[in-house]
Symmetry: C2
Subunit: 390 residues, 2 copies
Amino acid sequence: MTAIETPAPFDAALLDALMERAGIDVLLANSKHNVAYLLGGYRFFFFDYMDAIGTSRYLPMVLYFRGDVEATRYIGNALEAYEREHGRFWMAEVETTTWGTLDAVARAVAAIEARGLQAPRIGIEAAFLPADAWGALAGRFGAGSLVDALFPLERLRARKSARELAILREASEKMIDAMLAVIEAHGAGTTTRELAEALRLEETRRGLTFEYCLVTSGAGFNRAPSDQVWRAGEIASLDSGGNLGGYIGDLCRMAILGEPDPELIDLLGFVEEVQQAARRPIRPGAPGAAVVDGGLAPLLRSPHRGYTTCVAHGMGLVSHEAPRLTSAGPVPYEGVDAEAPLEAGLVLSIETTMHHPRRGFIKLEDTIAVTRDGFEAFGDRGRGWNRGAV
Amino acid sequence: MTAIETPAPFDAALLDALMERAGIDVLLANSKHNVAYLLGGYRFFFFDYMDAIGTSRYLPMVLYFRGDVEATRYIGNALEAYEREHGRFWMAEVETTTWGTLDAVARAVAAIEARGLQAPRIGIEAAFLPADAWGALAGRFGAGSLVDALFPLERLRARKSARELAILREASEKMIDAMLAVIEAHGAGTTTRELAEALRLEETRRGLTFEYCLVTSGAGFNRAPSDQVWRAGEIASLDSGGNLGGYIGDLCRMAILGEPDPELIDLLGFVEEVQQAARRPIRPGAPGAAVVDGGLAPLLRSPHRGYTTCVAHGMGLVSHEAPRLTSAGPVPYEGVDAEAPLEAGLVLSIETTMHHPRRGFIKLEDTIAVTRDGFEAFGDRGRGWNRGAV
């Protein structure tokens, strides 16, 4: 990690600027990913999978006061006293006392009151803050004082540090190792549910937390694991997310039982061509839209354009995050980064997906980090037809 | 499953009665555990671990209109179209269109509006419904129309069906198998982090979703996995949660490297005595308080009473749920079931925990189902000093 002037494991000056621009005096983060980011990668193991307990739920909160990083406060569950004893928190102000939403938010209210701010504007995560906790904040400070902080938090996380890039690289490499191990070990008669379960185990063996496996076999497009059987001669796709230290390895690779015929070789070769065309423009300073435009160039002049898509989006702690390169989607600032220049440290997921009407679901998904002089592809192996056990 | 008059995989008549008592016309469930319960055990694999995606999050919703089970509606993520195609949903009204909180809640608002109810009282999960979704509901129906539905939902889930009991039994048995495998395979020099990671893998191998492992070694009380080394002659505790089909296996067992001395044999023997005394009164009709009272009888006359506790609570989809047998805790209805008679189908977790000032953390946690004529203990093995590899 490069030397920073504050004790925080993130760029506090950038956060201050983003909060200033959004008119936020106090940031109250409570989503697992943003809490983990502000805590330097820490995520409490006891509530890693579940949230519910007793009559409420786990609600960790990081309070950040603009311009005063030293006052940052963590409000955690009572069991996190163990982690505090282990010195896992960078900030001085840590409370490990809570069991639910209302006791947690009461501590946050008290800490904000203690600052003595006049009519503070509080940045919250409106899609993650529970309604009852929101009600307690609104009751004390007024609903009008609560503004959504998703945008500044996402911008804060967009450029990854060397530490984050190393984790994302390792997650991607392990994901590919796990996928190739599963493909090599399975043959005709395997169900897609068995493929997904085998991948769960292979990811776990490698230290990843398995998140999901989208899987197809044969000519079908249904990607939910099921009793569908992978038969001799058929293709299969594995698209899985696995988590390492909070960061997501998310790639898609193809498999086949037997040898691909010329048409299958051409089809995956075309998907590969689109993927390569999309990554080719990637370097600092290139406009974000150049990525998808690069992929669309061969795509739009091909006979496959009617059933093939190419998308690109940022990834990191969340599987779809900044930069937002394409304008599809219902959210107000989708596509906001299309005209902005790419920067070193951004990490992109590029996906070319073909729903071929006769041959089935053919897809590659890659993870690409923008570097100082171009890009680096993480886990960039197994991109052809990987042979299953025969 | 016993024959029921409705297509619902839960007791719709009981839910109607609970809603009536709580003054709720429409139930809007969105927590993963209650959605899974109302969907008969279904939980969407893609968002099993994570929630965040894009600029919002996964927000599944089940809408239940009191007295009209046929009108039950599921509002799911667009990718759940795959599961719909697989016939995974019992209700006729299924929408798989959403990507975030606001589009999901907009669909719920439209469905409630379409019922044409006058001033409907809507039951929500206030600790789980995101603030922005709450805002959309409150904006349309008025904040006063939104009441918390945690209590009726918890009561609905309290008595487990044969299907649920079978899952909880299997989860507990697999958990014990995993723990014993880890203990047998590890010896002096293992860190508590390595023990937890080994347990994660053993649970995964057995089809469980690992949730957490609280672990101690030596005479310490810190239960977070760490670099702490398990040394020859020392004790260790493993307290883990692992999930099977949404239901939690949660047990605690003890281990030792070498042979326990007479004092250790006595201490764990005493913990076992308290556990047995707590389960002895369990049968339908016995008051809920009899469980903890049973454990407290030997505990309060022992020299260990100053550093030993005995608690009992319901468990199932949530690790602490109804019945609520003890009055400790900050929530309004904690202890509400202490005077109520136990019923067949309730599942209890009983925990006796000793923080011994010299010898360390000694605990047993058991899972006990109330049966027609008494009780059944799930995974009731490995209750003594399990020997690690020497």
